[in-house]
């Protein structure tokens, strides 16, 4: 496609490359604000690594666009890891050196697996799975995505089946939630407050009604709801040791030197603010900020000052130029010289369009300069004018990273 020729320029010279990063690390976590193409970037990076570096590469994704999932044969695979068929690569005109695997995150299923693993006995397990609060937490509330994504990553990594795991992080209120989720959950179950809260339900000897707190809580929430909460916590506490141990292990994995983070963003104001915050925060936590990937960057020719002068000339002298074109053109197919007024309109439109986009492109350039001080690798990915919905598209994107 013609668009592939744009000089969207790749990694900043001398600062390392994404390719190197993918070769050096075992876990690559793509994170950043919503709507910037995180999922597609993660998939493209994994596809490139499988193609060029070989080995077994897994992309753990949350919510790919349906068309992309269909094209890769991923629809409805749920939690199971599945190998992307070589025919998908062949159709894109490449023969990969390695294997590309993919898995999607099914929160409910993952939680159930977790309970099955950590529950001390079958009766506790069944009680938890049947508790109305548990069903709500695991199924309905998105925050639980954060925990489960990290949990799955840990699980898969500890099986030792892949050379590289690329993770696409779930959308969340705060891009950092997923980092804190394991520790938060562990803190929660180890808190004295929680034990205190459910104490009356453990011991029938305590008269609940005598404590003002329970009186208030009971007035607000009702006895049954309180009992459900208490049951849930008491049951979950039986899994406490498992959770705390896991949280510690996940935290170690995230700060391991084999793990790196890619912050994905576009150059628009709001995503940039979030991405900058994220990059700072990773550094503050001593996590490895491997690269910032800037997506959907307008092509460099929109920043060409001489082209801007040409656009200005086309705009200002559209009528004259259209007239001269009619007089001098060796009328090609379609005969543009037929109606100079129409040609002049077209010239004005294209000139305006160019000047409009160049305002945006120059603003982006400025943002990018401000950003470039930060990471080892800053990759800019050009704006693809067509959607990326198949392996060929992913590889095209991957080649630009």
């Amino acid at each position: 496609m013609p668009g592939a020729e744009w000089a969207g320029n790749a990694a900043t010279p001398g600062k390392g490359s994404l390719d190197g990063l993918l070769a050096a690390k075992e876990i690559v976590i793509a994170c950043g604000p919503g709507g910037v193409g995180k999922t597609t970037t993660a998939a493209a990076a994994a596809a490139m690594a499988a193609c060029h570096q070989g080995g077994r590469v897994l992309v753990l994704t949350v919510d790919p666009a349906r068309r992309l999932a269909d094209a890769l044969g991923l629809s409805g695979i749920g939690n199971r890891e599945r190998r992307i068929d070589d025919s998908v690569f062949r159709d894109a005109g490449v023969s990969p050196r390695g294997e590309l695997w993919a898995a999607m995150l099914d929160t409910k299923e993952s939680w159930d697996q977790l309970v099955r693993r950590h529950a001390p006995d079958a009766a506790t397990r069944d009680h938890i799975l049947a508790n109305p609060l548990y069903r709500n937490i695991s199924g309905r509330f998105v925050q639980s995505h954060d925990y489960i994504a990290m949990e799955r990553l840990f699980e898969i990594h500890s099986e030792g089946a892949y050379d590289l795991i690329v993770v696409d992080t779930p959308p969340s209120r705060n891009a950092l939630d997923f980092l804190d989720a394991p520790q938060r959950l562990a803190d929660f179950f180890s808190s004295r407050l929680l034990r205190w809260l459910i104490a009356p339900y453990r011991s029938r000897l305590v008269n609940m009604a005598s404590k003002p707190f329970y009186q208030v809580a009971d007035r607000i929430l009702g006895t049954q709801f309180l009992a459900d909460i208490a049951e849930f916590f008491i049951l979950f506490q039986s899994m406490y040791d498992g959770f705390v141990e896991r949280a510690g292990a996940v935290a170690r994995l995230l700060s391991d030197r084999r793990t790196t983070f890619l912050v994905v963003s576009t150059l628009e104001a709001t995503p940039m603010r979030e991405a900058e915050f994220f990059a700072r925060e990773l550094v503050a936590r001593d996590l490895h900020l491997g690269a910032i990937v800037l997506n959907k960057v307008l092509p460099a020719y929109f920043r060409d000052p001489s082209a801007a002068r040409v656009a200005q000339a086309l705009r200002d002298r559209a009528t004259d130029i259209a007239g001269a074109l009619r007089d001098r053109a060796a009328a090609p197919a379609g005969d543009p010289s037929a109606d100079p007024a129409q040609t002049a309109r077209v010239l004005r439109e294209i000139a305006d369009s160019y000047l409009n986009f160049s305002v945006v492109a120059r603003r982006e350039e400025e943002e990018r300069t401000e950003m470039s001080a930060q990471p080892e690798v800053l990759a800019a990915v050009p704006f693809f004018d067509e959607d990326i919905f198949d392996m060929a598209g992913l590889l095209r994107l991957g080649a630009r990273i």
Partner: protein, 333 residues
């Protein structure tokens, strides 16, 4: 692909099949996938309503500070503050909401006296589903019920979370069989279920993921909530450069001989300018396809409002005003 939308209001009452005008509602939730301009649209809708003489409360639920900057104002807090004539802005803080709730409904004046509850709140809210959601929706419904404002605009959670928020009263109703909360959720449900009072605006862009997420949201809103989808706002719609005949002219300009001549006449290389126009045309065409897909998948009674792509360098109040003006045009002002 289009989800069958169940009959909502079979009686030919005042609600009718046509949704009421956006500015006649009392409570509008603005949602959308991250990055589509949800906050900007919420700010613009508030601006437009205020320009039509309404007293507006605009509330940012997932406070990231963007709302304040769209009015060039200091950061918002739970206590509302006027950020523009007729517009009071606040940000949601569920703990403050709980405090207010206890004060108003249980007559417990200072939450410090029930210290353990305040400290327990974060834990309970983390684990007990719906607690944060109900406190958020509860505060907003309360403002509607008390009629402090003509219109409450909510810069709501992203599409992934909004269903949880809108269904929280129902979820709590199912979980909690007795108690004060139970009686509280009943009036909230009344407010949320009245199509003349409450509406949802889904913001999207004409791109693949935002469109499919919007269609999925529309289906879930109809199936799982009592709230009506009042409008879909499509943000960043690119201008149509040419008609069909003009496009032929454009194609002929790209002929190497013609563009060489054009370069000579314009006094410089026209290649980048022509390439830029080609990019704009392709982008516009790809996006028009997504827009068609959106229209085809939505119930025809849901208005689709288009906002142009802004080729500007600004982000603040200037943007809010421009988007408000476009929104006003789309709404027929």
């Amino acid at each position: 692909m289009p989800e069958p939308v169940p009959e909502r209001d079979p009686s030919p009452g005042p609600a009718g099949p046509e949704p009421p005008h956006l500015l006649d509602l009392r409570l509008v939730f603005v949602t959308g996938k991250g990055g589509v301009g949800k906050t900007t649209v919420a700010a613009a809708l508030s601006q437009l309503a205020a320009a039509h003489g309404k007293r507006v409360l605009v509330c940012e639920v997932d406070a990231k500070g963007d709302l304040a900057s769209l009015f060039e104002a200091a950061p918002t807090s739970f206590v509302g503050r006027e950020v523009a004539p007729g517009i009071v802005a606040m940000s949601m803080d569920t703990e403050a909401s709980l405090r207010e709730y206890l004060k108003l409904h249980l007559r417990i004046p200072v939450v410090g006296r029930i210290g353990p509850l305040a400290r327990a709140f974060d834990f309970v809210a983390t684990a007990a589903p719906g607690v944060r959601e109900i406190l958020t929706v509860g505060k907003l419904c309360y403002e509607v019920r008390e009629r402090h404002y003509d219109l409450v605009v909510v810069d709501a959670s992203a599409t992934g979370h909004i269903i949880g928020q809108l269904t929280a009263p129902q979820a709590i109703n199912d979980l909690v069989k007795v108690g004060l909360i139970r009686t509280q959720t009943d009036w909230m449900l009344d407010i949320l279920s009245d199509p003349g009072t409450t509406g949802l605006v889904a913001v999207t862009t004409p791109e693949e993921m935002p469109v499919s997420e919007t269609l999925e949201l529309a289906g879930r809103v109809a199936e799982e909530t009592t709230v009506r989808l009042s409008a879909v706002v499509v943000n960043r719609v690119l201008p149509e450069l040419f008609g069909r005949r003009e496009e032929e002219v454009f194609e002929s300009l790209r002929d190497p001989a013609v563009s060489a001549l054009l370069s000579e006449l314009a006094g410089g290389e026209v290649g980048p300018v022509l390439e830029g126009a080609r990019l704009a045309v392709t982008m516009r065409r790809t996006r028009a396809g997504h827009l068609d897909h959106l229209r085809a998948g939505l119930d025809p009674s849901v208005p689709v409002l288009l906002l142009p792509y802004l080729f500007t360098r600004t982000h603040g109040l200037r943007t809010t005003r421009q988007v408000a003006a476009s929104l006003g045009e789309e709404l027929g002002f």
